[in-house]
Symmetry: C2
Subunit: 501 residues, 2 copies
């Protein structure tokens, strides 16, 4: 290996270590830290962030990247070396596109907008949040200009979360989804209440929920010997290396779904990180390639695996044994139908597998309208409710249950929302390709087993980490670009059966 | 405030933040991290350590200290500014006394000696550890020369843990302790088995042990709103700020003492850090001033408070309520006597309040003998057993229960052991002074309350952090230098009563 490339690696390792240390501090903040420790913790994290940022954005780093790049210019496109250089060049350039004064303004605006949003949501008082959201919109408008774009202003924002994806592509796919998904939703509604989910709304002692959550996380392929399950208010997954990728869950005493599907969701995220190739360790390539692809892994485990009939045929007896009072007398079909109930609702994070996408399409469209100046922030509540009516057929009674429900717009994070729905679409496309390449996967899944599926994911997705763009990865893994069709086939078949359409 | 001093503070804060981040990584390593995460964690901690070390030992830091010192040269000795300059000057000088090549050798030797020690202890095979210990002894001999000394070679090693204390002082105090404590131990032995501790050796469900541990930690004054209790194999306390000072405990299903007194011990340590003055935050002064003074706070809470009759008269009913099967029919006096049983034993960490000091005196004497070349490492097992016979009247049947029991000699940590016993002596002297200054303390203690005692500790010990040397602190708080007399008065009175001497 060239000594310039080696020198670059040493610096990359150092920055990576600092960033992973920040990750540990953040994990600890959410799981164990007493609230009183917040001020010192923020100082510690700020110091580490400043250090890693200064190291990465230095002129010296730019030179290191270029001298190393010259030394490995003959490396194949797919090699770790060429992939790392590609990633670092892009990331280095982006890190220098936002002037320090702008970055400070982002911190200041978010620092005020976030508590204002918390208060506004608590008091159902959109007017209190409105001036802050106006500031946020100004910031994302400026940010788009600073990054620059060719086609649409939304492009550079989306690119930060889904590199290489264009707004126009997403729009075309989402429009196709809408066109087919709205009639499906309506057909289900017309069937009335053929699905009853009252059995998941009972009292479930939390220690047994924990036991079962650990059991199913292990069953789907999450490796506890390289992980840890923590308790938090807002669940997430995080990793400090491929050998320490953690999940978190919250526990509701009277509702089983959050612990079941939350645990499976985060397990899917963490399995992605556990599956990155060891040779990528201590580099920024050792993680998921984009928000959308990451979400495809969590949705694969949560929904395609975790909400399948085969999965519950295998694991429901164990659940019944833990909760005999609650579940005896209810067979697996009833349980399977209960956890797949379709029910248009106001709150995104509580939405079912089918209607979830509408929540995202709504936000995607409203974000662009605000960004492009087509929608004044003052008019957001009305626009929100109109779109809810159009897509979901329901209108939230309050703004707290409407346009104030998500944290995302209290910081300049425009461009993130679409990746949630893209995750659902990627997942269905990956699964269809996997089964067609290896029919054993479907046979195993019918028995609630995931060994072959996880092996396919490891081989085609996980191991590559951030070497390839989402589009490259989808092409390599499935032989074509992202389309909505596999997802529509998947939900149409599944819910037609459940709702006897 | 002068701008040079302000510049120094900014740098001090930055280094402090990195070191506290290392503390969080270390805490997480012991409490939550899967074993598989070790390699990456060591890399992360090594990177942070290298960064903070490079920052602190730089020429720039030396200049910052001196220019700031010139600006605050008129500050009073007791001021935060003068105290910080004193501490930084000493610490800066020390950090540059060991050449980088020597520091690397320390890492290498420890890195090999530690696993060899683990193996030797497991297999009761001193010969396996002997060559490593010989290397360690060579290192501490060189280290003493690098630091330099006027009187004794042991002085500079001791100084790292108990700044300003001389070996000759410790020797004089320990000799006085020996002279009075051996006869007391023998008198107790002659009384035979008047104390029965079988009630603490029963089955105690761990969830209830945890509940009671939290209860008594809170009762003695540990502030859970600024802390956290974790579970580990080897308990310790640590802090990331005065508002986040944590304790850890281990739980034995069939022995109550470790969770009771381990929790109280670590609470005492953590309360010291919780009590440092807010103005010292983010500087190296915001922690206990020495190993010995720190140990005095843990021993105060563990023994002087936690093994007192008043404490158990107040809290034993709660314990009985949690463990009725185990404790009903045994009154508080019986329990008090059980947790104060004197029993010469082989293992230091299991020793009672009275015989513990003998374990330390033995190590203090043997460390010096090895350091000075008076004792060949090969002869350590024999020398160990001879001293055990002399001081404790018992001889361990194996080296694993003898000279191989502690981790300390697998790294060049000579000079640390004496601070454990110094902690006991400081604690007794502080307590005597506190009660003579405020008699309410004794009245409260008779009712199991610690409010007035903790207030005295806050005022006289905790708030000062590392501003003063141990000797300065003892002088200020008690009006004289450290002596063994308060300790001897305390144990003589207490154990004469229990053993009806």
């Amino acid at each position: 290996m060239s000594s310039n490339y080696q020198k670059l690696l040493e610096k990359v390792y150092e920055i990576h270590d600092i960033e992973k240390a920040m990750g540990v501090l953040s994990w600890d903040k959410e799981t164990n830290m007493p609230k009183a420790g917040m001020q010192a913790r923020i100082q510690q994290m700020t110091t580490l962030r400043r250090l890693s940022h200064a190291m990465f954005t230095s002129d010296e780093m730019g030179e290191l990247i270029e001298t190393a790049a010259a030394d490995v210019q003959d490396a194949a496109y797919e090699s770790n070396e060429a992939s790392l250089i590609r990633y670092l060049r892009r990331s280095y350039e982006e890190s220098r596109q936002l002037p320090p004064a702008f970055v400070r303004r982002v911190s200041e605006v978010s620092g005020k907008a976030n508590p204002a949003w918390v208060e506004a949501r608590e008091n159902n008082d959109f007017a209190h949040f409105q001036p802050h959201l106006e500031e946020v919109v100004k910031l994302v408008q400026e940010m788009a200009e600073l990054y620059g774009y060719e086609d649409e202003k939304y492009d550079p924002l989306l690119d930060k979360f889904e590199h290489g994806m264009k707004t126009a592509e997403v729009r075309a796919i989402f429009n196709a989804v809408k066109e087919e998904l709205i009639p499906l939703r309506q057909a289900i509604e017309e069937r009335g209440s053929v699905v009853d989910d009252s059995i998941v709304h009972q009292s479930f002692p939390i220690d047994k929920q924990k036991e079962f959550a650990r059991y199913i996380a292990n069953a789907v392929g999450y490796d506890f010997s390289r992980g840890h399950l923590g308790t938090v208010v807002h669940p997430f997954a995080t990793s400090f290396s491929r050998n320490d990728a953690r999940i978190t869950t919250r526990w509701y005493p009277n509702f089983l779904n959050p612990s079941l599907f939350g645990t499976l969701h985060e397990s899917g995220h963490a399995m992605y990180e556990q599956g990155t190739h060891p040779d990528l360790a201590r580099t920024p390539l050792a993680r998921g390639t984009s928000s959308g692809i990451h979400e495809s892994q969590s949705r694969m485990i949560e929904n395609i695996v975790g909400r399948s009939l085969g999965f519950w045929q295998a694991h429901y007896p164990k659940l019944q044994k833990l909760f005999p009072e609650q579940l005896n007398g209810h067979d697996v079909t009833e349980f399977y139908r209960a956890v797949n109930k379709v029910q248009p609702s106001y709150i995104r994070v509580e939405a079912d597998e089918l209607t979830y996408n509408f929540h995202i399409i709504l936000r995607f469209e409203l974000e662009q309208a605000m960004l492009n100046g087509d929608l004044a922030v003052a008019d957001l509540p009305t626009a929100w409710n109109d779109k809810m009516k159009e897509l979901l057929g329901v209108v939230p009674p309050t703004d707290s249950e409407g346009c104030l429900q998500d944290i995302h717009w209290s910081r300049p994070g425009f461009g993130y929302f679409p990746t949630y729905a893209l995750g659902n679409l990627y997942a269905a496309q990956f699964y269809e390709a996997a089964v067609s390449q290896n029919p054993t996967i479907a046979e195993e899944m019918a028995q609630g087993k995931t060994g072959a599926l996880v092996a396919w994911l490891r081989e085609n997705i996980h191991q590559h980490g951030r070497k390839f763009t989402p589009a490259e990865l989808v092409q390599k893994a499935t032989g074509g670009p992202l389309t909505h069709e596999p997802f529509m086939r998947y939900v149409t078949k599944k819910f037609s059966e459940i709702y006897e359409l």
